[in-house]
């Protein structure tokens, strides 16, 4: 059985609600970091961080460049920057062009994380109204990582999970309440 080392999550429209549900259901002693890109369009993610921290069973932080993601911690991509996982496993930031009209972009996080974690990565695509994350999830699957996609009919906005399924496919297509238990199960020590 694969020992997973990280979970990356992408969402857009409807994402705050979806993340709240997801984070509330995670095991308090999850032994991997959960790294999140959520398109918000706002100047910073302080508000989002505070809202999510209210119900999260894990601490929620903004990802800081050059720092190593710690197990049992939720990291949010800072507003206006792409968040990447560097080859040494540290966070890196970039202000390169938007991808799918977004910065941060889910694809950028997923592709860099796939290159670093290889098969030991779980990618999760939740609700959203564009195609971001589809190519990233494909990169994760190409590296033999695990792909989880929210059931499109269950999502507030179905375009993002639909695009992910069309481009990358998935190992699990599940409703929102089942995603946290699935991650807890997959990441059991």
């Amino acid at each position: 059985m694969t020992t997973y080392r990280a979970v990356v999550v992408g969402c857009s429209a409807g994402g705050v609600h979806a993340l709240t549900t997801l984070l509330a259901g995670l095991a308090p002693k999850l032994h991997v970091p959960l790294i999140v890109v959520c398109h918000t369009g706002s100047e910073d993610v302080d508000m989002l961080r505070e809202v999510l921290a209210l119900k999260s069973s894990l601490p929620v932080q903004e990802a800081r460049e050059r720092h190593v993601p710690q197990p049992g911690t939720v990291y949010l991509a800072p507003a206006g920057y792409h968040l990447l996982v560097e080859c040494d496993g540290c966070f890196a930031l970039s202000v390169d062009a938007r991808v799918c009209y977004s910065r941060p972009a889910i694809d950028v996080l997923f592709e860099s994380a796939a290159a670093h974690y290889g098969a030991q990565l779980i990618g999760v695509v939740l609700t959203g109204a564009n195609d971001d994350g589809a190519l990233g999830l494909k990169a994760i699957r190409d590296h033999k990582g695990m792909a989880i996609v929210q059931l499109p009919e269950d999502a507030v906005a179905s375009a993002m999970p639909e695009a992910a399924l069309r481009v990358a496919g998935a190992d699990h297509v599940v409703v929102l309440p089942d995603i946290a238990p699935l991650i807890n199960h997959l990441c059991m020590p």
Partner: protein
Amino acid sequence: MSTIGPGNRPDVEDIELDGFVRALQQRHGYDFSGYAQASLKRRLQSVVHSGGYQNLSELTGRMLRDDALVPEIVSGLSVPVSDMFRNPSVFAALREEVFPLLASYPRINIWQAGCAHGEEVYSLAILLEEAGLYERSQIYATDFSDAALLRAQEGIFPAKEAHTYSENYLAAGGQRTLADYYHSRYERIKLDERLKRNIHFANHNLAADGVFCEAHLILCRNVLIYFNNVLQNEVLGLFRDSLVRGGFLCLGNRESLDFAPAAKAFTPINAKARVYRLAARA
């Protein structure tokens, strides 16, 4: 190189990246070995894609034999474009907290390292003008990409950005209206020629070149994020050696100095805006 786990072979793309970096350095003298790899890889993918190459190895092979390809490749790897007055609160901090201290100098040298297409250079020139400091200021705007420098010198930006730039300008505490500083033509805006009178554009590579000038303020926003810890630390040392005592350094909003010993020379004066001051040396 990345560790994918025991028993796994190194990724093909990592090997190709190594080969490219070595070829560009040995054959053409551009050293990208101190760059953070994840972003470098992405940028190279887009150079490969837009040039119609099959993969990075093909690009490397062509580049080794054809010098004419180098400027375009280098420009594809240079600092990405910014916005005028990007993060207005930072420009407001410069205007309110740094300019009053700069005002005590009879001549003010400002170095913008990594100027891309000049968005922030012109922003700075406008704020200095409005603060009555521009006549005695010299702004040195540098980049390692000649293509970027040429664009920066033109001072021409897409008209569709004008609205955002104007909002940013006002949020930064601009005292007039941004339209006073540019002419619209077709789909573009062209900044007033007079803004260029004290700006000097020059080629300088932070990864290879030394002290550029004696500066009172260095602006280098979102450039060091592309460097690994070693190069980041070296460049911070370069900034330290380039600043006058009590000089100022402004970095990007989310840059971290936590792993750079050279950062000890700097004291944050506005941590949120990433504005630092060089401690006075004995």
